[in-house]
């Protein structure tokens, strides 16, 4: 039969080890936000790369038909607009430091999530239509000297690749991103609610 004082001495004899230092702690908390920022930057980097590569085709290749130039122009424009939208979204989360003001940061994070949702839903279809139109115009000249089998294969591959991106890949991406931001929002909501409770 144990008394409370025995229980208390048992509690006090159980030493616990804190496995994290003050520096590591803040670093870890910031890491999650930084991961989203880095991903967003890579996304923008990829789009800028595509913009540069497609623009280069106009400079280094001599196309005879106006349809090709128009096609490439449409693709470049679509990529540029999409990149600007991505950059504006990136600013939403990069300009705010959550350690300074979690309330404002939480608001921006929600805004970012909504903006991403629009980007991968409504806006994405405009992007797909523009890119498809661009490719159709581009193929009119570039594929005309190839054999029918080759023409069909290239067109089929392009169509299938775009369909894959617009369906399976897009849905998986939206789901993963939503889960990630939801988790982050939930965490900051907890922190924010806690401040209000102080």
């Amino acid at each position: 039969m144990q008394e409370f004082k025995d229980i208390q001495s048992l509690w006090q004899s159980h030493s616990v080890e804190v496995k994290i230092s003050s520096g590591e702690m803040l670093e870890q908390a910031k890491k999650e936000v930084n991961a989203i920022r880095t991903k967003s930057l890579f996304n923008i980097g990829g789009m800028v790369g595509s913009f540069a590569a497609i623009s280069a085709t106009l400079l280094y290749f001599d196309f005879n038909s106006w349809t090709t130039t128009l096609g490439i122009g449409i693709i470049i424009l679509a990529v540029a607009i999409y990149t600007i939208i991505l950059y504006r979204e990136h600013l939403l989360i990069s300009k705010n430091d959550f350690t300074e003001n979690p309330g404002i940061f939480l608001g921006k994070l929600r805004q970012y999530q909504l903006s991403r949702y629009n980007l991968y839903n409504k806006l994405y279809w405009f992007y797909v239509i523009a890119i498809s139109l661009g490719f159709i115009l581009f193929f009119l000249e570039t594929l005309q000297n190839l054999g029918s089998a080759m023409q069909l294969s290239i067109v089929m591959f392009t169509v299938l690749w775009m369909a894959f991106c617009a369906t399976i890949l897009r849905k998986a991406f939206i789901k993963r991103e939503k889960e990630r931001i939801d988790l982050l929002i939930e965490k900051f909501e907890r922190i924010d609610a806690q401040f209000k409770g102080q």
Binding site: Q2, A29, P102, R190, I191
Partner: protein, 165 residues
């Protein structure tokens, strides 16, 4: 390293162990306790400038930790009691010894208490002065004494019950 960083480091080094023990006592799980510890000190960092020295800094940190623990479980809608029992048993299997078994029993007994009681008794076990516990938990000292007496009895009873099984 600026002044705030140095101050934070001092505060963390002085209080982290006690806060971790509080969170551990509340959740019975080292990983969750670690998460709660991090969340607590993140709030400490963010609000350090707002701390007005009306109470002791340790009281202020305890209050943040207690609220963090309560909010965490409520937000997550976790069945703390069930999870606790399982995780304690899992955690302790590898390091089986008589003392570890007793510690596991103690955590198991604490987990059977009500959420608020769990936090209060953890502070009592850590020998925090009653006026400080009253300040942290927002209960008047008179009521707190009665409450603590009841929780102590309940915990002792639970511990002895488990020990007999």
């Amino acid at each position: 390293m600026d002044q705030k960083d140095i101050l934070f480091k001092q505060i963390f080094d002085t209080n982290s162990k006690k806060i971790f023990h509080l969170c551990y006592g509340y959740t019975g799980d080292a990983d969750t306790a670690n998460d709660l510890l991090q969340e607590t000190f993140l709030k400490v960092w963010q609000n350090l400038d707002k701390f007005r020295q009306k109470s002791m800094i340790s009281t202020w940190i305890y209050r943040i930790a207690v609220n963090t623990c309560l909010t965490y479980l409520r937000t997550e809608k976790r069945q703390a009691k069930d999870e606790l029992t399982d995780s304690i048993i899992e955690n302790r299997v590898e390091e089986f010894s008589e003392k570890n078994e007793q510690v596991a029993l103690l955590y198991q007994s604490i987990s059977k208490l009500e959420e608020n009681d769990r936090l209060i008794i953890t502070m009592v076990l850590d020998e925090l002065p009653y006026n400080e516990i009253a300040d942290i938990s927002g209960i008047s000292e008179g009521n707190l004494r009665v409450k603590i007496h009841r929780i102590k009895q309940k915990l002792t009873e639970l511990y002895n019950q488990h020990a007999r099984i």
